[in-house]
């Protein structure tokens, strides 16, 4: 038996996911669609938020959603009420979505028929942070009922996101939610991050956020044409 020796290999462990995510991003860009992924802890209100988003964008835009869940199809059923095309990705024991699952789920959808595609990740603030899904924008949701320090507890996922949504603000007073503390926590882990405060249920703050999406799509198409 020879002596052990060290060989350098330098392999990115998530290379396969990154390759698929890059291909997806290119496909989305070519089709001119804006792809938004949503991450949050379980119960932060992702599905209600998404249902309202789909419903309110639809008069003006063609929208669709992919929704990840460990076991049930409840979310897809709820989202189907928006009349938008919705596909469920059941992940089984897997706690996050991966780029290959997005690729499979898209199946025969013609992306040219869409303006916005939403991807709802599994409710989890840890695992999804490592996986690029090819999205144009990653939204992280935290509800006022979860406490102001959520970003400090899960800095990695907040750092991987582009925009934060503070949801359920209709309950802020009841749970004594302190916005300044929350704002400081968010800015500490992700300086300059844009934040929308809203209640999907009551409708408060939705308009500002939908206008933002509108601008993002316009910008994307302007860049694509240039």
């Amino acid at each position: 038996m020879s002596e052990p020796r060290l060989v350098e290999v330098r392999r990115n462990v998530l290379k396969q996911n990154d390759i698929i995510a890059r291909a997806l991003r290119e496909r989305f860009r070519e089709a001119g669609i804006f792809v938004v992924s949503l991450v949050s802890s379980p119960g932060a209100g992702k599905t209600t938020f998404l249902e309202k988003t789909l419903t309110q964008l639809q008069p003006r835009y063609r929208v669709a959603a992919l929704v990840g869940d460990l076991a049930t199809e409840n979310d897809a059923v709820r989202l189907a009420r928006s009349k938008a095309p919705v596909k469920q990705i059941t992940t089984g024991t897997l706690c996050h979505l991966e780029a290959a699952m997005i690729e499979n789920a898209l199946g025969d959808w013609d992306l040219h028929d869409l303006d916005f595609l939403f991807i709802e990740n599994v409710g989890n603030l840890v695992c999804p942070s490592s996986y690029d899904l090819g999205e144009s924008l990653r939204l992280v949701l935290m509800s006022v009922t979860e406490g102001e320090d959520k970003p400090l507890k899960y800095p990695t996922i907040f750092n991987s996101a582009d925009v934060a949504i503070v949801s359920k603000i209709d309950l802020a007073e009841a749970v004594e939610f302190d916005w300044e503390t929350a704002r400081t926590s968010i800015q500490s882990v992700r300086p300059g991050m844009q934040v929308f405060r809203l209640s999907a249920k009551a409708g408060t703050g939705m308009e500002e956020y939908l206008d933002f999406l509108d601008q993002q799509l316009t910008q994307r198409r302007a860049v694509a044409q240039a």
């Binding site: 020879s2 002596e3 060290l6 330098r10 462990v13 840890v126 400090l152 800095p155 882990v189």
Partner: protein
Amino acid sequence: MTRSGPVGSGLELWGGAMHELSIAMSIVDAALEESRQRGVQVSAVHLRLGALSGVVKEALLFSYQMACQDTPLQGSRLIVEDVPVVVFCPQCNEPRTLPSVQSFACPECGAPTRDIRQGKELEVFALEVEEVAP
């Protein structure tokens, strides 16, 4: 998966929902591929793990042993090098190592920054190998 030892308790430690096992399996796959290509036996895998990789080291070390089971890597070691977050401070015009991932501000001058230069690594960077006897 059948295995002696406290598998259940280990998984529960991480809240049941862990992606470290699938990451560990990717690491094992990568090491096996290299070992086949090079015709060597792998005795240890060296991994660079960034503080922003989203992977919990303890859960990964635990999962690695599971992922190695019944493969030629069984009995091999996973050696993890922790990689801290390095940001670029626009005020100091210098790269700075962050003492904590809870504050993306320059540890010297306090300027906030989101210019991340290091800390997302999840990379198999070396293998300890032995030649396979012919």
